[in-house]
């Protein structure tokens, strides 16, 4: 016998109200109506999100605006359709090393830019870039396109390490027409309908809180004795930096020739200004990556891969109007100071990102074939002489 039934029986003999309530609760008529109501409400929410289409993955509306602050990284991969269709005039594309560029910073740095958007997110890989380039190429409002040459251009992102790209948003399969259906999706849809702005869900933190003023809450890597010991250990191993390793051929980076270079050439021909940025990794990272992360994607021959990305882009775009490659690796005030970094790869300070953005906007720190030997020599010397 169900314990509830026993309880009902004993309670009903004592108190009439209690017995009535318990009888109602135990009544056989309430079960399916309650479940049906829940199901119907969820279905209604699903239909609502489907038609509201906050991320413009089903209908092109040209009316949705992007918010003026960075988005949580999880949301960023979904912003591509709105960025491409609804009037963004500057786009930053890259992975984790370019996440720190904020719209406000970009607007301040680049004159004439009104609606910038940063589409960088951690572990953004070739799958996302393959979606992004054709869509951004089709944009009629794009004036400036900043491409951060993250290491993920070479090998993509290792699955299982938080690849935030949800391909259901781009697959266009009829069996998954509303991939944005979720509690977040309902909230975002309501906000888009009310304000016209595609913003993050209300309860998620504003991402710029983690960038602007970030240095107060997240310590630089120098604050970790354990990390500094590991970096010192790696730096003291002879030839660990891999600067003397043979060159990595451009043919081993098929994404460049197949996807990136043809697209940017066409865009540049239309007058879109293309800025490639080489993300400034800390000098300490080269030895560390080679020694400590053998066998992982970011490890092994890190130096030659990084240099290959820079060299191959430079060679493929040299002399093409409206295309520039900016490098900051040999600015040792950035790369030689670990106080600027939260780990050996990622910059920490808002001010450093801003400084880099200003220098890109000003057309500085360009790498050209004539500067290549000196640049390579200076970086090698900087890495080999560096001790944390």
């Amino acid at each position: 016998m169900n314990p509830l039934s026993n309880f009902v029986r004993s309670a009903s003999s004592n108190n009439r109200t209690a017995s009535w309530i318990l009888r109602v609760l135990d009544s056989g008529r309430g079960f399916l109506p309650v479940i049906s109501v829940v199901w119907a409400l969820a279905t209604a929410a699903y239909v609502f999100v489907g038609f509201a289409d906050p991320y413009e993955i089903r209908f092109v509306k040209n009316t949705v605006r992007l918010a003026d602050h960075p988005y949580p990284e999880k949301i960023v991969p979904r912003l591509l359709p709105v960025a491409a269709q609804d009037g963004a005039d500057l786009v930053v594309l890259g992975a984790s090393t370019s996440v720190g560029y904020t719209p406000v910073m970009l607007r301040q740095a680049f004159r004439g830019i009104e609606r910038p958007i940063n589409l960088s997110f951690g572990c953004a890989g070739l799958d996302f870039f393959a979606l992004a380039f054709p869509r951004l190429e089709a944009s009629h409002t794009l004036k400036r396109f900043v491409i951060n040459l993250d290491a993920t251009f070479i090998k993509g992102c290792t699955a299982g390490f938080g690849n935030l790209l949800d391909m259901r948003f781009y697959n266009e399969t009829w069996s998954q027409p509303v991939p944005d259906f979720s509690v977040e999706g309902i909230d975002v849809a309501v906000r888009v309908l009310r304000t016209g702005v595609l913003d993050r869900p209300a309860w998620q933190p504003r991402f710029e809180d983690r960038v602007e003023g970030h240095e107060d809450s997240v310590p630089p890597i120098t604050a970790s004795a354990n990390a500094m010991q590991a970096l010192t250990r790696a730096a003291n191993i002879a030839h660990a930096s891999g600067t003397d390793a043979p060159e990595f051929p451009c043919s081993d980076i098929p994404s460049l020739n197949a996807l990136v270079i043809p697209a940017v050439r066409r865009m540049a021909a239309r007058g879109v200004q293309i800025d490639f940025i080489a993300p400034p990794y800390s000098l300490a990272n080269y030895s560390y990556a080679s020694v400590m992360k053998q066998g992982s994607d970011g490890g092994g021959d890190f130096f030659v891969k990084v240099m290959a990305l820079r060299r191959c882009v430079m060679e493929a775009t040299s002399g093409v109007p409206h295309i520039q490659l900016h490098v900051f690796d040999t600015d040792f005030s950035i790369t030689g100071d670990l106080n600027n970094y939260k780990d050996p790869i990622h910059l920490l300070q808002y001010d450093v990102y801003k400084k880099i953005a200003m220098r890109i906007a000003g057309g500085g720190d360009l790498l050209t074939p004539s500067k290549w030997p000196d640049f390579q020599q200076a970086l090698k010397a900087g890495i080999d002489q560096y001790r944390p």
Partner: protein
């Protein structure tokens, strides 16, 4: 489609249920089965044209052979044997070609790349076994098969038989990941005169199973995946892993796989029940098993029984005869009659998942454990121990002994390679301070594992809760090990409606997470 696709849950499923009862009431059982077939086609179509064609072709070939085997025209045993062999060869070749060919080629020549280069058709492992069992039943001229395939004369009759057969094999709740159903279980239900007429209790039990399954998959299993995936990926890519993370990943996967796969099975049984069909129960609190023998009576039950039918039983018969012919006694007799069949049985179960070294090792480990346990249980010492201890004591002791080896074997099952498994297990002893780039520990990890353990070890499973309403077909009778006071019985009343409605709301909030069922890859 997946059970967790919102389009399926909010549009296809409710519509299909409505049409099933409308057609079933107005036009009869055949029309109701037709609705199931059409829904199954819609459900399977997103997997692509090639998998769809393979399924359709497989259905036609097996039905034709099944009709031949059950027909009174073919009386010659040789012809019938030939038909059966041909059918089985066809099924297993199809499975081998699409599932194993490229995997074995990759093992032989890793750099050569895939030869066929096609994605494994969804559900092929399951519908192959499903139909192979059907052919065996047809060969034995089981009464159920004869009734089910009767009336295949004329175009209308052939269409009717095809519809029935397609509904049996391609029944969408069980098509992708089982449970593997026998004709003797399906036929009496589908052929009963009132099939297709609404019985409220079917809907009530069905939605209960669906909601519990969704909760297990979306809330429990997918939340545990955050403890599991980064650490297992870290083990594959040589990233440092702390002791804490390694233990959480091993324990987390133990619970995740159970909630994920049993959640799927619950949904499958629930959806089928909404269409007035009871499927066999596939999971019966396996994590509370008292040993490996008990484990396989509770875990993926319908695969266990099919492999036993095709592998263990014939091998054991052959081995026993072989040993008897040669006059073997003692351990030699047991080696041929039981040990070798067990080892092969578990190797087949393991490699059924994929041709991988980790699976082979997993199968070997389970096989050896099974042999050891059956020998121990047959010993005089154990019989004496059984005589002086209670079932409950032995169950708890067995569970205490078995849990760690089961956890480790499933971690091996989950690992990308034997090396990665070794690295993961070695990391259990890594108490060094965290390094740069180390896989991040999950601060709420232990809370998640504690909740999972509470549900697994103390609460009754949903089939125990629904015990008064026969939620599924029972293959093995297992004693309940749930805490007696928590062993509540479900009733279709408002309290349970509110409780399940609450579970459904929580589950729906996780619907957007793109995490397919773990077993969908097999």
């Amino acid at each position: 489609m997946l059970f967790i696709d919102p389009l399926f849950l909010f549009a296809v499923l409710p519509l299909a249920i409505c049409l099933f009862y409308v057609f079933g009431t107005l036009c009869g059982p055949s029309a109701a089965l037709g609705v199931i077939v059409v829904t199954s086609a819609i459900f399977y179509a997103p997997y692509g044209a090639l998998p769809f064609s393979i399924l359709a072709g497989s259905l036609c070939v097996n039905l034709a052979i099944g009709l031949g085997l059950s027909s009174a025209r073919f009386v010659s045993p040789a012809i019938r044997q030939l038909l059966l062999t041909g059918g089985l060869v066809f099924n297993f070749l199809l499975l081998g070609a699409f599932k194993y060919f490229d995997q074995i080629a990759a093992l032989v020549a890793p750099m050569a790349g895939p030869i066929l280069g096609v994605v494994i058709p969804a559900g092929i492992s399951f519908y192959t076994f499903h139909q192979a069992v059907f052919l065996l039943d047809a060969f034995k001229r089981q009464e159920d098969v004869g009734k089910f395939l009767a009336g295949a004369d004329g175009a209308g009759g052939k269409l009717s038989v095809f519809t029935r057969y397609a509904a049996f094999v391609a029944l969408f709740p069980q098509l992708i990941i089982g449970p593997i159903t026998y004709m003797s279980e399906f036929s009496p239900q589908a052929l009963r005169p009132g099939f297709g007429r609404l019985r409220w209790v079917d809907l009530q039990v069905g939605v209960t199973l669906v909601i519990v399954g969704l909760f297990k998959k979306l809330v429990l299993a997918d939340n545990l995946s955050t403890l599991v995936s980064p650490t297992f990926a870290g083990a594959s890519t040589n990233l440092p892993i702390s002791s804490n993370d390694a233990i959480m990943a091993i324990a987390g996967y133990f619970f995740q796989l159970y909630f994920d796969f049993s959640g799927y099975s619950d949904i499958a049984l629930g959806i089928a029940r909404c269409f007035s069909i009871r499927l066999p129960i596939n999971f019966d609190s396996p994590l509370r098993a008292s040993g490996i023998v008990d484990w396989y009576r509770r875990w993926h039950i319908t695969l266990t029984r099919v492999i036993a039918l095709f592998v263990f039983t014939p091998l054991s018969l052959w081995g026993t005869r072989y040993a008897a012919q040669r006059g073997y006694k003692g351990w030699k007799r047991r080696a041929f009659g039981a040990w070798l069949p067990f080892l092969l049985n578990f190797q087949i179960i393991a490699l059924w998942h994929a041709a991988k070294g980790t699976f082979a090792l997993f199968g070997l480990f389970h096989g050896l454990w099974y042999v050891l346990e059956t020998e121990v249980k047959a010993s005089k010492t154990f019989k004496a121990y059984r005589a002086r201890t209670s079932d409950r004591f032995r169950g708890l002791t067995g569970m205490a002994i078995s849990t760690l080896p089961l956890m480790l074997s499933l971690a091996l099952f989950r690992s990308d390679s034997v090396n990665a498994f070794g690295k993961l297990v070695a990391s259990v002893g890594n108490f060094a301070p965290p390094e740069i780039g180390q896989v991040d520990g999950n601060p709420r990890g232990w809370l998640k594992i504690a909740i999972a353990a509470f549900i697994v070890y103390l609460l009754p499973n949903i089939y125990e809760v629904l015990r008064n309403y026969r939620p599924g077909i029972v293959t093995y009778e297992n004693r309940s090990t749930a805490v007696a006071i928590l062993r509540v019985a479900w009733r279709p009343n408002l309290v349970w409606g509110l409780y399940l409605g609450g579970l459904a709301i929580v589950a729906f909030t996780y619907l957007n997470i793109p995490a397919p069922f773990l077993y969908a890859g097999f």
